[in-house]
């Protein structure tokens, strides 16, 4: 950008905002982008109306909705890229700006490694349990209360006073 900054300006001083010289995009860019965004929005709504049926690949049961989600997320990512590149001007930004624009989304994927914990639990026999069909039933009931079966009858949990 700074190399361009010394090129002769085609605008008279005062005609454009400070430093805007090489950042002014033609309006057609924005119009084309919004058009594409609308088309993609319609596409994503349309794609969600049809649930892809379940099918098998060589013995593996694959729920069809898995692909619905992939399609929906792909379209969302494309829309997001369009917004970031053209509306947020990242396409014409310096490499430094591009780096910081990208790093947030890349780093966000790290949080999803939390899901790997839950994905690998079935492999461990001590903690593997099927996700219950009656959620909330496994919540621990109040323990140690005076009338419960594990009430503290010998006052072991009572602190002796001095």
């Amino acid at each position: 950008m700074s190399a361009d900054a010394h090129a002769p300006s085609k605008y008279k001083p005062g005609e454009i905002a400070w430093g805007a010289e090489h950042h002014i995009q033609p309006v057609s860019t924005y119009v084309k982008t919004i058009g594409l965004l609308f088309i993609l929005m319609v596409a994503t709504i349309g794609a969600a109306q049809f649930a892809i049926p379940d099918f098998k690949i060589g013995g593996l049961d694959i729920p069809g909705t898995f692909f619905n989600n992939i399609i929906a997320m792909t379209i969302a990512v494309i829309k997001a890229t369009l917004v970031v590149m053209y509306f947020m001007h990242v396409k014409i930004s310096t490499p430094l700006t591009k780096f910081w624009a990208a790093i947030g989304f890349i780093w966000m994927t790290l949080i999803f490694f939390i899901l790997a914990d839950y994905a690998t639990r079935p492999l461990d026999p001590t903690i593997a349990r099927p996700w219950t069909s009656d959620p909330g039933s496994a919540a621990p009931k109040m323990r140690g209360g005076p009338m419960s079966e594990d009430a503290d009858k010998i006052n072991i949990n009572v602190r002796p006073r001095q």
Partner: protein, 236 residues
């Protein structure tokens, strides 16, 4: 001492360094390109924090949806698609008008800037209106706000009531947080519209301020682009 050669300074020096610009450049910067790029990078680092914040919410949502896929589908039945689609359209239009406002700020055409900012605010307010009137209020009336009054008609919709409560907790949290960001955006855009209207020199000549607000607004749109399919378009 070390071999340091002092270069001639281009700027004048003033004792009062408060908000004083020389040729549009604040005292801590050398030239306008450095200043503009700093503003852009600074705003993007802030948006990185917002991405991480919403990203964590998306992750938690993904976790529960993966775990309770069936119940999530049943729970989302009650959410109609059309307000979501309308809201998406409104936000996309507002994004467009916002970037046009920046465009005209760069060209210093204040009247067009104000028109586009006004359009953005109108779309944003319409977004909130649709959300509150057509989505939140019906849900409150149907006992879908999580808490002591939550009630889920399992016989009619299927799925577990407990999971439905989790689903709606996420729904209200994420759309609510997004809505707060929209509201804050409206206030900020309104404020810079006021500054443009008063032709405050800083905002008329320095397009980066409007650009930074626009970056924030586009980010709000980005979050909605991902929220929309996740809440409104869950396949069976």
């Amino acid at each position: 001492m070390s071999s340091i050669v002092f270069e001639e300074d281009h700027e004048e020096h003033h004792e009062d360094h408060a908000h004083h610009r020389v040729n549009g450049v604040m005292h801590q910067y050398e030239d306008i390109d450095q200043q503009n790029e700093s503003y852009a990078v600074g705003m993007w680092t802030f948006l990185v924090t917002e991405v991480m914040m919403f990203g964590a919410l998306f992750m938690a949502y993904t976790f529960y949806r993966w775990r309770y896929a069936e119940s999530f589908y049943s729970a989302h039945e009650h959410i109609k698609t059309w307000p979501g689609a309308v809201n998406t359209t409104l936000l996309l239009i507002s994004s467009f008008t916002m970037v046009m406002a920046v465009h005209y700020t760069q060209l210093k055409k204040t009247k067009l800037v104000l028109q586009n900012l006004a359009a953005t605010i109108v779309c944003a307010c319409a977004f909130l209106f649709v959300k509150i009137v057509f989505e939140y209020i019906p849900k409150f009336q149907d006992h879908l706000l999580p808490g002591p009054n939550f009630h889920w008609n399992t016989k009619e919709y299927g799925g577990s009531e407990n999971v439905a409560q989790i689903f709606y907790s996420f729904y209200f949290t994420m759309t609510g947080l997004h809505g707060i960001h929209v509201l804050v955006g409206i206030l900020i855009i309104g404020f810079i519209a006021l500054l443009h209207h008063k032709k405050v020199p800083a905002i008329v000549d320095d397009y980066m301020i409007t650009e930074m607000v626009a970056l924030y607004w586009h980010f709000v749109d980005l979050v909605w682009i991902f929220l929309f399919p996740l809440y409104y378009l869950i396949p069976k």
